[in-house]
């Protein structure tokens, strides 16, 4: 395997990177050359090399979002060669390795695009719309007390598994970035169905889905037309089944909640 070979040939690459000073200016694609990139590097480490080059030359480094660099925080939102997080399925950008590229490749790197995700600078986007949707979901009013014993609340394994699968959403926004409609339904559906499936989520079940969908619409995300790009690009494999659950939850809540607004 190329990845396990420390002597693999280093790569020389052309990068086409979106540069934009701030929210109020227009940006454009700028070409850069990076040389001697180890195939062992992650994509973000390759960008670190580019930024060191730029700093040495006295130029402004490329701003990009990252935090954990181990595939769990969902910060590393880059649109690489026309795909969210690049062409590898089931990977975040920080988990994408340079051995997936070839010497001499040209790589385009753009920020997530959506009206609800404005570009802060270069490749860094503001995803606080997701935080506001989560806030709109509110709290869970079960009394948690001290650390509960395992299996104190009986939940069938199939339900626990389904809720856990939904809970793995890392809030990265790849679903929005990939969607032709810039719809946030896969993200919202993962959050809604996770709690709707569990006994702890029952008390606020109706108001949660009503409020989260209202906030989603208010933030200006699009409406899902079941294209499926989101699930195909989701790094943790959140399934479209969740969107059907969201629609069911929404319909049931609207029909039976006490909320007259």
């Amino acid at each position: 395997m190329a990845g396990s070979n420390p002597n693999a040939k280093p790569l020389n690459l052309t990068l086409k990177v979106w540069r934009q000073k701030n929210r109020n200016t227009n940006g454009q694609m700028v070409d850069y050359q990076v040389r001697d990139i180890s195939q062992e590097m992650s994509f973000l480490e390759m960008l670190d090399v580019l930024n060191e080059d730029l700093l040495r030359k006295g130029e402004e480094p490329v701003a990009f979002d990252h935090d954990c660099r181990e595939g769990i925080c969902g910060s590393c939102n880059l649109f690489i060669n026309g795909r969210a997080h690049g062409p590898e399925p089931g990977t975040t950008t920080c988990q994408l390795h340079m051995r997936k590229f070839n010497d001499g490749d040209t790589i385009t790197i753009e920020p997530w695009r959506a009206e609800a995700f404005p570009v802060n600078k270069d490749l860094s986007v503001d995803r606080s719309a997701f935080d506001r949707i989560i806030q709109a979901g509110g709290y869970v009013s079960v009394n948690t007390g001290g650390v509960p014993d395992a299996n104190e609340i009986p939940i069938p394994k199939s339900i626990a598994d389904q809720a856990f699968d939904a809970a793995t959403c890392i809030g990265c926004g790849a679903c929005v970035a990939a969607c032709k409609n810039a719809s946030a339904m896969l993200f919202v559906s993962a959050k809604v169905s996770q709690l709707a499936l569990l006994p702890q989520g029952q008390v606020e079940r109706k108001q949660r889905v009503e409020n989260m969908v209202a906030q989603m619409d208010k933030e200006g995300f699009g409406a899902c037309t079941n294209i499926g790009s989101c699930a195909a690009e989701c790094p943790v494999g959140i399934s479209l089944e969740n969107i059907a659950i969201l629609n069911r939850e929404f319909l049931a809540a609207k029909a039976t909640s006490n909320n007259l607004a």
């Binding site: 385009t108 619409d217 409406a223 629609n247 929404f250 609207k254």
Partner: protein, 224 residues
């Protein structure tokens, strides 16, 4: 009732109207196809003219006709509202390089274009057959029914008309290959026992129904 209008104008509410009207239009397609099979009867069009006379005069059918009009109007209206919302959500700056053909089928991303082709076809089709049957002056056939059959035959002897029909049916087939299963997803009607069947049924439905419609102009152009 503001809760109801709020629900129906939310992103999910609009989709639900799309889905309900879309499935209703699918049921219309089945009736329309079965009725039109009268065209294949070798009786100089008498049976077809009896059928079209019934459809044009029966009070129950005439009432359902208005439901059908409403179905189309709402389906098209919601498609415009959703498309506008979704275009705005994408924002003014698109991707310089976007390979969404690698993550989704073409027809799923182009429902609006497919729908517009269907709409253009629909307007021409309505003018040519519906308008002239209902408001025009067709000659009577030997049973004294309006002779719509002769109009159908003469229309289907024009190559461009046949081509328009076949292209529109291809567009409709792609619209439904995505739309049929999509409507069930939108309505939340998914289940691991039934969804695979709905998916296959949707495929078969789209192809059989649209092929059935497309065969009619081809039959008259090439065979009759």
């Amino acid at each position: 009732m503001s809760w109801l209008s709020n629900a129906l104008t939310s992103s999910i509410g609009r989709k639900i109207i799309m889905a309900v009207t879309g499935l209703f239009l699918c049921s219309f397609l089945v009736i329309h196809l079965i009725g039109n099979l009268q065209l294949f009867k070798n009786d100089g069009g008498q049976a077809f003219n009896v059928y079209s006379h019934f459809m044009g005069t029966n009070p129950v059918i005439r009432t359902i006709e208005w439901v059908l009009v409403a179905g189309f109007v709402f389906h098209i209206y919601e498609s415009i509202m959703l498309t506008r919302r979704n275009k705005a959500a994408r924002g003014p700056q698109g991707y310089v390089v976007n390979h969404n053909e690698q993550n989704s089928p073409w027809q799923s991303r182009n429902m609006g274009i497919l729908g517009t082709i269907i709409l253009i076809f629909l307007l021409i089709h309505l003018y040519n057959f519906f308008y002239r049957a209902r408001f025009g002056d067709l000659d009577p056939d030997i049973n004294n029914n309006d002779d719509l059959y002769t109009l159908v035959v003469s229309s289907f002897h024009q190559w461009w008309y046949v081509l328009l029909y076949v292209l529109a049916q291809i567009a409709l087939a792609y619209h439904l290959i995505h739309g049929f299963k999509s409507a069930f997803q939108t309505l939340g009607l998914t289940h691991r026992k039934y969804t695979p069947f709905i998916t296959y049924f949707g495929y078969a439905f789209s192809i059989i129904v649209c092929a059935g419609f497309a065969v009619m102009p081809l039959y008259f152009f090439f065979i009759k």
